[in-house]
Amino acid sequence: MSARLGFIMLVHTALDRAAQVARFVAQAGSPVVIHVDARTPPQDRAALVQALADLPDVRFCRRFRCDWGKWSLVAAMQAATERLLGDFPKVERVYAMSGACLPLRPVADLQAWLDRHPDTDFIESVSVADVNWTKGGLSEERFTLHFPVGFKTNKWLFDRLVDAQRLLHVKRDIPDGIVPHIGSQWWCLTRDTLEAILKDPMRPVYDRYFKRVWIPDESYFQTLVRLHTRRIESRSPTLGKFDHQGKPHVFYDDHLQLLRRSDCFMARKIWRGSDRLYQHFLSPGSGEVNHAEPQPSRIDRHFARATEQRIRGRAGLYMASRFPMQNRENGKTAEPYSVFQGFTEVFRDFEGWLSSVANCRVHGHLFAPRKVEFAGREKTFAGGLSYSASLRDYNPRAFLTNLLWSARGERQCFQFGPGDTQGRRYDLLWFMATDSNAQISVISGAWAVPLYLSGRDVAEIRREAARLQRIESDMIDILHSPHVRARIRIWTMAEFLENPAEPLHLLFDEIAPHVQSRMIRIPELVDLNGFGSFLQDLRNQGMQPVLMGDFPTTPLPPGPSHRMK
């Protein structure tokens, strides 16, 4: 009964697996014609013939030497099809498969499914004018250029010849009446369509033309079927996924559940060592016909994720097989983070306050010159990072990306300032400023507060103040650069202190949006009585403090409100 469906099978290696599949199909009553690549060693072929000798409906057709992307593959398919249609007059449909294909469901299921789609040709056939998935750049030109050199034999020469023909506007004529289509070479066609293609009086013309087309096995039947079909379903009946280079994804034992759930009839390509897959799918079924529709989309998602990882990678990851050049990172860091400059200086216990009100990890000055100030002043942190300043300074950027990578899922906040390690030529700040994950908030001039509070003689700290001011103004220049991608806010100290609640509120909404409505007490300011006269003292010593903004020499009046909102 199921003899209405026949198979042609193209094999060149792993003949033992091909034999298993051929036996499975033939025992279900479907005839099989096998094309063995002429390059396959004769003893291997003899073993295959021997292994299938007890099955009268398994035949072998004339052999061709098959090269990837060459006409010989089409010739092999033609020969196998002709043999199948000639030897088995009852066959109504022909299914093309390779030796690396594996039936996932009994042949009876496939037969029943085909019966529900009478007179339909299942073949992926996409017009080259619309196609967007050809890998390697050639789509329409496959049909209009000459390809005297094999792509795999001499890739360099192949590319140069294509370039030369483009330059000279070489163009082959496409025979009248055909519109180039391409698609997967694994199809299932009806006898009527195949006979029409193989017995077409124009066949010698078409064959001559396709002999010079690039990868004709993906276009010969796909194009000609359009001339003769009664009804076409443009999709391959065989499940197969392709990676970013256009190579087929391979299935292994661990894909068993995935393949089973797909409900597809046939999958390719299977790794020849997948014992469990062959054992599971080629074991005799229950005999009942299952009418489930194939669902290849489940598998699509699995492999689409893999391609995404290969092409785009994981943002913020630097590792042995992913080391992006500058600005090709697809995300310089793993997750959003906040950098505060000048906040610990003007508030008392800013760190403690922030970690108590927002759900995030608040570090001190991670880049402090003596040692890393991790949250809680621990000696190590996530990922095994050490508090040693020399280890950190060996590669400050890697230190930051490592920290953010290993603390994924928890927002990281840290203090920064002109007194910290900057890396070579502000390397670290440049990195953060051009990172869209960074939120950098600066109260400029706040570095002067600790100097003021130290109570040291102004003449003594003058030099230090000048150094910090110089560094901070360089930093602010960077933060004003047109290349900046971080979210940056800069207040002078005077501006900020006029109404500290408002900027804090703004930042807070970004760090912890879910708690924005809560009434939050803002942290206590340090006592800045006398800071104005301290600045005047610096001026009197010949230094010009400017980054604080216009700070009154007399003490500030108390702020209007210490509550947010």
């Binding site: 190579k247 060592g273 290969r310 190590t380």
Partner: protein
């Protein structure tokens, strides 16, 4: 030119090797081979051989650099091991690499070859469900000739000197902790490889001189050609294209890890012995550091150490990658 020099050196140094058991005639045309140099590693050998046999290594080619603990006799009795012996200087053979290059040139041509130490355990994506042959077939199909890894140091919890390596046991049962993300990377323009440093060794022994911390980038699996040569350990190779096991446009290539179970009690004795021999890299600077560190009961473990579970865990942590191999 540089490559020819290394190959010439390899041929010269290769003469120092004396075959004890040469069973290379039994190697199949497409067999996966493993090359190693060792000295006094008897307790580690049974598990080491079992681990790699289970992955699908078909033949081991081992240089015994003057073992006195019965390693040679043990290896000689293994049917899938070819053994060479030499008493020559480890240091003068560039820490065994000249011997490895010589053996690779003679026997590795055309084979997927794994070059590891006996305390290194190779992990690749899906290594619990797919044999090594699945990986090499996939690499062949993708036209790749080499496969990169991170050398991931694993250590026990508690003082290293209290954790002996028991013969036949899986050392990863004891040394099962690692640092998940304190590795720094720079690109070495001369050989195009990445230079990775960090991990517990940098943290514990090289905090004051991070530049001297050992390299952790390795390319242990290569479809060998007789014109190839390892330059410095398995960190880099010539021709330089073999070192391009990483993506520079943001994507991830497939890669693995070499779990480095060095930090077990044998190391304390070994550090002292190796110091006395002075046969190691940069005057055994590493071993100086270890001997010093291990004396005062160094514990590499911290509360941020991660316990090793399987390759999937390392993949999620970004220490290795599936790339497009799904």
């Amino acid at each position: 030119m540089r490559r020819r020099r290394w190959l010439f050196r390899a041929r010269r140094k290769g003469r120092e090797l004396r075959a004890v058991n040469d069973r290379t005639g039994a190697i199949d045309r497409d067999a996966i081979l493993l090359f190693a140099t060792l000295r006094n590693e008897k307790p580690r050998l049974p598990y080491f051989l079992k681990y790699y046999r289970d992955l699908g290594v078909q033949h081991f080619l081992i240089v015994d650099n003057g073992s006195e603990d019965g390693s040679g006799e043990y290896l000689g009795a293994q049917p899938d091991v070819s053994l060479w012996r030499t008493g020559a200087s480890y240091k003068a053979s560039r820490f065994g690499m000249d011997w490895m290059n010589a053996l690779l040139r003679r026997h590795g041509h055309g084979h997927w070859s794994l070059v590891v130490d006996v305390d290194e355990f190779f992990l690749y994506p899906f290594c619990d469900t797919r044999p090594l042959r699945a990986l090499t077939d996939w690499l062949d199909d993708a036209g790749l000739r080499s496969f990169g890894t991170l050398l991931l140091d694993v250590y026990p919890r508690g003082a290293v000197k209290d954790q002996p390596c028991i013969e036949g046991r899986n050392p990863l049962e004891i040394a099962c902790w690692f640092d998940s993300a304190n590795y720094t990377i720079t690109r070495n323009a001369a050989f195009r490889n990445l230079w990775i440093q960090g991990g517990p060794r940098a943290r514990a022994f090289f905090a004051d001189q991070p530049k001297a911390a050992p390299a952790l980038n390795k390319v242990p699996l290569v479809k060998w050609h007789r014109s190839y040569a390892y330059v410095s350990s398995t960190h880099m190779l010539l021709p330089r294209g073999l070192n391009l096991t990483y993506d520079t446009l943001g994507g991830e290539k497939a890669s693995g890890c070499l779990l480095h179970a060095k930090f077990l009690a044998t190391l304390g004795d070994k550090a002292e012995e190796e110091l006395a021999r002075g046969e190691h890299y940069m005057g055994g600077r590493e071993y100086h550091a270890y001997a010093r560190g291990l004396d005062d009961e160094t514990n590499l473990w911290t509360k941020w150490s991660e316990r090793f579970i399987n390759w999937r865990q390392l993949e999620i942590m970004g220490l290795m990658s599936k790339g497009s191999w799904a």
